[in-house]
């Protein structure tokens, strides 16, 4: 794949957003932007599709609710029904009110943890994972945009970046992690 990219550094989020919009207007696609903090509207400006993590969380919550219901039905009703205070022990529904706290807690437990695990896996975050931001300043106060270029458009893209306030522009040859970045 395209093994040459431009790295443009921006010093401010407003300048970055302008540049992203200018590039998108000219139909150039942006590989990646590395930011030190969440820039509002950047994902829309880059044309990133929305994330579906909230939906997964809802589904995980349903799983948690189902697991807790199954668990307590098995433990309290089927496997070892106990006579506690003379309350009926042969029907889940009639016993359900005192199971509500745990049904709630397990719903939250599943929804929260499984969503976060999904997030970590999708964004490739885990201990001992090597960081992939190309410039260490991007966690401080600089913004780095990466764009794949070919022989014919490299100068044109560089000009757009330059006009829109990129403070540094660099051509990166044969970037090794390039393919991995594009797949993402």
């Amino acid at each position: 794949m395209a093994s040459k990219v431009l790295h443009a550094i921006f010093t401010d989020d407003d300048i970055l957003l302008q540049a992203v919009k200018a590039l998108r207007e000219k139909k150039y696609s942006i590989n990646e932007v590395f930011c030190p903090f969440p820039v509002h509207g950047l994902d829309k400006a880059m044309g990133l599709p929305g994330t579906r993590l909230a939906i997964t969380s809802f589904l995980y919550g349903l799983v948690g609710l189902a697991v807790s219901t199954w668990m307590m039905n098995f433990i309290m009703i089927e496997d070892w029904p106990q006579n506690i205070g003379g309350k009926p022990s042969f029907s889940y529904l009639q016993n359900m009110p005192s199971f509500v706290p745990i049904m709630f807690e397990m719903t939250v437990f599943f929804a929260a943890h499984l969503m976060v695990i999904t997030f970590y896996l999708r964004s490739k975050l885990w201990p001992f994972k090597k960081a992939e931001n190309p410039d260490v300043r991007t966690t401080d106060d600089k913004f780095l945009m990466e764009i794949s270029v070919n022989e014919n458009n490299v100068q044109a893209i560089a000009e757009v970046l330059h006009e829109n306030g990129a403070s540094e522009i660099k051509l990166i040859h044969n970037k090794l992690i390039e393919n991995e970045l594009i797949e993402n």
Binding site: T11, E32, L53, P127, L171
Partner: protein, 488 residues
């Protein structure tokens, strides 16, 4: 790209801070060396912790008879301390979750430390029931696993078991919420680190965070959903803690007002503890520009409101005891206020209901010394609230022959002091190694709420440019570079 915020709102970040300044200010305590006072406080906390550890070992090896408990007051100080610590553990998630849902930007300067406080205090809380079991190595018996006696299970009708689930869910979800927010800030420290060892450690801690646009999009969504999940969770935890009492038949305990009353009390004591810690931390770590007087004032207002809710609950309890017509109930409350433990009741009322009312005065709630003083008073008062609820409700049993008083032994005092020490050991270590302010989030509100940018807008109008024009070098010929095959 409008960063407009009404000029009537006071800035949340004072001083002319740029993005880079935020980085430098947050990283300074981590990169710098600890000063003498840190070591002094840390040593005291460590000694207290070790003393407490000794008392725990003594308790476990000798049995809980080493405490001052008796057959009437079987819960000793232990559950008082448990409820006190769990209550303190409520502010962190309240600040980071509830205030996130309400889009309160002032939470960003304090949420990291408040959540750290939450996690550390829930750890303290969790110790107490485990010690109270007498045989802590069998603590796993509270889990729903088949045991060696056959398939006898835990009892899911018991509020004590609900507590196990509520507190472990709360602790683990808070931890994950906190850590996810920490990733970009650990990454910032990692990328600044010069020593290989530190770079490696913060590299592990940051989970390889790179700050891609997609990561940030997911990060924000995850934070929002976690906030939505943590909000009912935080309310459920102290609700369930209150069920430990409310579902009992002891007069003074079995009241339906307990859940909201406990939750308000938890928020009250949690915010007081946040104030105690942050008033010290902003000074020691030079963070006065981020944790401003306004932050302290807003927390004081929360303390005032929740303190008043707690006051209403106390009075409602008294009224309902009389109105119920149940003589046991009436006696329980009469005895609480005028019996041998009247002094504890008076302390509770003064500290929790009267003292927050001073916060109606703007001069007082903007005074740092006074806020600090009140935060300590509230913490003391909330400890006595739990003492009053537990000990005075129990000490006059149904049979007068069982009536008794309670006094703690050095062992349980030692354990309580030890948990305070443990808490401060954890918090002081945190303050030296963690980014104590969610710097990425603060940067994202800097242009709307930072003093520097508010000034620019005030001078040059709301559409003023909030950045300096970048310095640019002339554009090289990239086409030529493209065809030469060497990295420039």
């Amino acid at each position: 790209m409008s960063h407009y915020e009404s000029p009537i709102r006071r800035p949340l970040v004072t001083g002319d801070k740029s993005y880079n300044d935020v980085t430098l200010d947050v990283v300074r305590p981590v990169e710098g060396k600890a000063n003498k006072s840190w070591w002094v406080v840390f040593s005291i906390a460590l000694i207290a912790f070790l003393w407490g550890l000794g008392c725990i070992v003594y308790t476990v090896s000798e049995g809980i008879g080493t405490w001052g408990l008796n057959k009437t007051i079987g819960w000793a100080w232990d559950i008082t301390n448990f409820v006190w610590w769990v209550g303190i553990g409520h502010a962190g998630t309240l600040i980071s979750a509830v205030l996130l849902l309400f889009r309160q930007k002032w939470r960003m300067a304090i949420n990291r430390s408040a959540e750290a406080m939450t996690i550390f205090s829930v750890i303290q809380a969790g110790l107490f029931p485990i010690i109270h079991m007498g045989r802590p190595w069998l603590a796993y018996w509270v889990l729903p696993i088949p045991n060696q006696f056959g398939s006898l299970w835990v009892n899911f009708n018991s509020p004590l078991l609900w507590d196990v689930f509520a507190i472990s869910t709360y602790l683990s979800v808070s931890l994950v919420f906190w850590w996810t927010g920490l990733l970009p800030d650990f990454a910032m420290i990692r990328d600044r680190a010069v020593k290989p060892f530190q770079k490696h450690i913060y590299g592990i801690l940051s989970f390889g965070w790179s700050g891609r646009a997609k990561d940030w999009q997911r990060f924000e969504e995850v934070s929002l959903v976690l906030a939505g999940l943590a909000t009912p969770l935080v309310l459920s935890v102290h609700t369930i803690v209150s069920f430990d009492f409310a579902t009992a038949v002891i007069p003074g305990w079995h009241t339906t007002i307990f859940p909201p009353y406990f939750v308000a009390g938890a928020v009250f004591s949690g915010f007081a503890m946040v104030n105690t810690l942050l008033i010290i931390m902003r000074k020691v770590s030079n963070l006065e520009n981020y944790i401003t007087i306004q932050h302290i004032e807003l927390m004081n207002i929360v303390i005032m409101i929740t303190g008043s809710i707690v006051g209403v609950a106390y009075i409602t309890e008294l009224f309902m005891a009389w109105y119920s017509g149940v003589e046991y109930e009436q006696y329980a409350f009469l005895n609480r206020a005028t019996g041998p433990y009247w002094w504890a009741y008076l302390l509770m009322m003064t500290c929790n209901v009267v003292s927050p009312q001073f916060m109606w005065f703007p001069r007082l709630r903007r005074s740092i010394m006074f806020s600090f003083f009140i935060s300590i008073v509230v913490n003391v008062g909330m400890w006595f609230e739990r003492f009053v609820i537990i000990v005075t409700s129990l000490h006059r049993d149904y049979m007068p022959s069982a009536w008794t008083m309670f006094s703690p032994t050095f062992v349980e005092i030692g354990i309580f002091v030890g948990t305070i020490g443990f808490f401060f050991v954890l918090f002081l270590l945190y303050a030296r190694t963690f980014p104590v302010i969610a710097q990425a989030e603060v940067k994202s509100i800097l242009k709307t709420s930072g003093e520097k940018y508010k000034k620019i807008r005030a001078e040059k109008g709301d559409d003023a440019k909030l950045y300096l024009e970048p310095e640019q070098d002339p554009l090289p010929n990239f086409k030529e570079q493209f065809n030469s095959n060497s990295n420039s």
